[in-house]
């Protein structure tokens, strides 16, 4: 019983979604459209669980004086400041919530994102070494494409940009397609296992 009701809900929801794709007739259309909204709502309502967990973890850290507990108040204060300002002033432009978002949260996101520029460099330096046949291929094609991207490539040999275009449009397309078609098979199989309850370990049931 503990498993049957959740599994029945999973099955029903999954089948509604699949039928909604093929059948425009009622009631599938109504159910399908509503279900898409509903699960968004449930997933976003769950954010309170996450928020509670975050607070719990950091208050516990402070209480037990765990490693780096001195930084936990920073998280707690940051969280509460945003929450309270958002609730009091709303999210419109020019209000404190939006001000803090634009001047602190957004720049921090952009900065973390820009770390990628450094990390692609160090990853390329370390990984692109001709240590075996496959690594050599990876290295060569990356190197040719990189050269094709900058003026110096065409200066070395005027065919390099052409090679770049060929690599991008033929092997790159072929590789991406193979990955995508293969992944789709995996998705179909995984979805079927979930919808029909073949795989139920996520519910805490082995069989």
């Amino acid at each position: 019983m503990r498993l049957i009701i959740p599994l029945a809900i999973t099955f029903t929801a999954g089948m509604i979604m699949i039928l909604n794709f093929f059948v425009p007739h009622q009631p599938f259309r109504f159910l399908g459209e509503n279900l898409q909204e509903w699960y968004l709502i449930v997933a976003s309502g769950a954010i309170f669980l996450g928020a509670m967990n975050l607070m719990h973890v950091h208050f516990r850290k402070i209480k037990l004086k765990l490693k780096n507990w001195k930084y936990s108040p920073v998280t707690i204060i940051g969280f509460l400041v945003m929450l309270v300002l958002g609730l009091i002033y709303g999210v419109t432009e020019g209000r404190p919530f939006n001000y803090l978002f634009m001047n602190m949260v957004a720049p921090m996101g952009a900065t973390m994102f820009s770390l990628l520029a450094f990390f692609v460099a160090s990853a390329a330096f370390r990984a692109f070494r001709a240590s075996n046949w496959r690594a050599t291929l990876l290295l060569t094609s990356a190197f040719l494409v990189m050269l094709g991207q900058v003026p110096i490539g065409a200066m070395i040999w005027d065919k390099i940009p052409l090679i770049k275009v060929w690599l991008m449009s033929i092997p790159n397309t072929a590789g991406q397609r193979a990955v995508m078609i293969g992944a789709a098979m995996g998705v179909v199989s995984t979805s079927l296992r979930m919808i029909f309850g073949v795989e139920r370990s996520w519910l805490g049931g082995t069989d």
Binding site: Y39, S44, I47, L80, L83, F97, P107, M108, R177, A178
Partner: protein, 217 residues
């Protein structure tokens, strides 16, 4: 108090703190990281309330033109089931909500992945290879052979020996060339992100220093 300059300074300080991570973990990074996690978590709570819970749920259930749509009580109940996790005695109820989310997700993903990843890609691969110059015939062949042998590489129930093994080897070769090309092409796009941050620091923030010190007006 000049709010604009204060904003630039706040942005610049957290930027520098986060960049310090490139050297090593340090108190400045720890501070900025904890601040970032806390502030963004707070931001997302407000975001979900303002952009999903109020418009998609509350306003559908209690429309501004009056009335009450009973059917929207259902997602509300599922949200409550989800939050029941906080009370150990009834935590099991959350499985009902999880079942709904996982079921919908699995069903939706199954058809959409099959449509865009399988059907559309197969369609793109069915074409005549015998057109154009020798070079373009060769290219078309590489494309078709690449897709087919790439798929053979993913075979799980056949040992990679004999013909299957050879085909799978061709497949992984094409995949490696593809990954290399894709990596090489993306480096440039990634660099432009850093350029954006550097421009902020050099062109927005740096000029405020002399202004604050009262030099150069």
């Amino acid at each position: 108090m000049n709010w604009e300059i204060l904003g630039i300074w706040l942005g610049a300080l957290v930027t520098l703190c986060l960049y310090s991570f490139l050297y090593r973990d340090n108190p400045f990074y720890k501070f900025a990281e904890h601040l970032f996690v806390g502030m963004s978590a707070g931001y997302w709570v407000i975001y979900q309330i303002e952009n999903v819970l109020i418009p998609n749920w509350w306003q559908s259930m209690v429309p501004s033109e009056g009335g009450f749509n009973w059917i929207w009580i259902i997602p509300g109940i599922f949200v409550l089931f989800m939050l029941a996790r906080m009370v150990p005695k009834i935590a099991g109820l959350s499985r009902l909500s999880l079942g709904m989310i996982i079921g919908s997700g699995a069903g939706l993903n199954m058809v959409s992945f099959f449509q865009t990843n399988a059907m559309a890609q197969v369609k793109g691969t069915i074409f005549s290879v015998a057109s154009g110059s020798v070079w373009s015939i060769f290219s078309s062949l590489v494309l078709v052979v690449g897709v087919v042998s790439g798929l053979i590489y993913f075979f799980f129930s056949k040992a990679h020996t004999g013909v299957v093994g050879k085909a799978a080897n061709v497949g992984i070769t094409i995949l490696m060339v593809a990954f290399g090309a894709s990596f090489g092409y993306t480096i440039m796009a990634r660099l432009s992100l850093l350029i954006g941050r550097c421009q902020f620091m050099l062109e927005d923030w740096l000029p405020t220093i002399p202004r604050l010190l009262g030099i150069g007006g």
